[in-house]
Symmetry: C2
Subunit: 397 residues, 2 copies
Amino acid sequence: MTVTTPKGFRSAGIAVGLKSTGKPDLALVVNDGPERASAVVFTGNRAQANPILWSRKVVQNGPAQAIILNSGGANCFTGDFGYETTRLTAEAVASVLSDGQGESDGDAGGAIAERVLVCSTGIIGVGDQSFRDKIVNGVPALAAALSADDTTAPAAILTTDSVQKTASYVSDAGWTIGAMAKGAGMLAPGLATMLVVITTDAKIDSEGLDAALRGATSASFDRLDSDGCMSTNDQVTLMASGASGVEADAAEFAAALAAVCDSLAAQLQADAEGASHDIDIEVTGAASVEDAVEVGRSVARNNLFKAAIFGNDPNWGRVLAAIGTTEAAFDPYSVDVSFNGVRLCHAGGPDRPVDECDLTPRKTHVLIELFAGESTATVRTNDLTHDYVHENSAYSS
Amino acid sequence: MTVTTPKGFRSAGIAVGLKSTGKPDLALVVNDGPERASAVVFTGNRAQANPILWSRKVVQNGPAQAIILNSGGANCFTGDFGYETTRLTAEAVASVLSDGQGESDGDAGGAIAERVLVCSTGIIGVGDQSFRDKIVNGVPALAAALSADDTTAPAAILTTDSVQKTASYVSDAGWTIGAMAKGAGMLAPGLATMLVVITTDAKIDSEGLDAALRGATSASFDRLDSDGCMSTNDQVTLMASGASGVEADAAEFAAALAAVCDSLAAQLQADAEGASHDIDIEVTGAASVEDAVEVGRSVARNNLFKAAIFGNDPNWGRVLAAIGTTEAAFDPYSVDVSFNGVRLCHAGGPDRPVDECDLTPRKTHVLIELFAGESTATVRTNDLTHDYVHENSAYSS
């Protein structure tokens, strides 16, 4: 059910003191092969944390051999010192994997720092000497804890998350996919604030992984827009070990990966900071998928709409006001809008009485029918609540 | 201090029962000439209320003779019936102005409905027979209340506003500008949710008014982004009577109009729903004004930043995360960010300790220095507070 579900991977999660709570805050995932392929999708934010700057270089050096992730500090905007911290972290991982420490009978030996991906999550601007020491000095113990049956890694990457997020897929053909994720706020497109590690023991090359990963993320994480804020540290990493010995059918693999990413996206939505509603905004009849996503996103980012849902108010007027700001092809006076199955707006005017609609369940479905084409898309978001304001104002994060 | 400050205008505001509170909800402003010129800026939202659809036609018929405004219902997405309500409203105004009822010694006689602008504000989807009857039947009493010394109109256009908003300018050359505004939420660019009526007794033609108005609104209302939500009913109307007999210097008039609009924008910001901070985001060193506005707006729309300010947390990391999503020309690692005069981020890294910065005053100044050019812009916004969520969730609006 996690990144060690597929054969050929070991992982571990330990506490090194980055979190003041003493909870696990450092995780490592190692690809023991026999093959190594990988693909990574990074945040679209130009303001990028040091681990992102580092990992972008790593992917140019060939398939990743391992990925180390810390919570308790984003190591973003921490300057040259912070970048050096990231490099030293990768070097520490390569060192322990090369000298046999924490080594299984796989072939992770010979690991080099330039093949080690690094992820960090936590507060921007945090990354001092103490932060560096805790991580670098913690690597040997982390490597020693590596296990092919590990279940401790998912907890070590959490920040304000209330639950661990994992997903897996088992193919009848004999290969599997496993995944873990963190993310509970700053969820926005071009990736939510989230770290995701996905592993598979299917035999598939990096090009195949990359195509499947981009397809899967564009239809899942890229359509999750909890609060419109894009992070500096987002990274989705997919690694293949080939340990099943089975060559995956490309179509099945793509569909399976999409399902895994969709499951993780739904878990991220369900754990969004302070939310009381999980809102699926389904747009149908769009002239293109891009139009459908643009329309859905305009609603997902509308604070007045989001506050109304918190108040269990099916305010279809705010939906129309939001979609009117887009450039998507449709006639605002021909649109239908339904909340939880009750059509409240027909052809741009009032339809059923709003009191027929019950918004008290957490799951909320908004259907926007554009009548402008055949394309559809669903954008996931959350409501705007007192708890969201509290969690993002009462303490720094 | 309001729309009757300039000579040649009469106004009135009365209660006709649209507001459940019994407060004034219908206002009329008449241009008695001797000249008539006008310019109007409408919402950029494609979802437009019936009064907007009507007023867009009016401006094509020549200078407006009068403008009638109601609160207590937006008459938006109310279908053909709603459009007919707007038309009947304009006709009622034209009728009373033509038959001498409510007539001064000016020349408003001969008014035709197609020269009467209409504005509505309130809940979308509201505009039934009762709504129509109250407005249309209220017009004779409204016209009878018209006065060149009126001070009642500004209150009649308010919705969730807590205070009236007015502004004026008196030129040594002998002409004046007067203005009234409403708006307290859904404040976003391409106009905030707001209705603004500006009058002047300067002699100036419609082309001159239009150029001055577009310049003034682009640097004021278009840079006010309280909650990122764009309304369906926004309209800024400028009318000139020429009653001063003085031809206005174009440069002075443009500057005066800009100052009046800037004052109103500041008043709208200060009265934004539920806000506890008025945040001025000043961007300097931009490669272009467009870049400066884009950078400022990205921060103004970032819920995490806005929640942090509510918590008096000078979270410069969220500023960098926000501006990193823009396409403006700058190096994220060369940016300086100051809060209330304390530079907390220098060259994309930590600078002064955050506890040197006091964010308890309501007025908040965020300075973002891009070092990419010579252009500057200031975008106004507000914080994201519990009261904002409450006001926009606890009841429908």
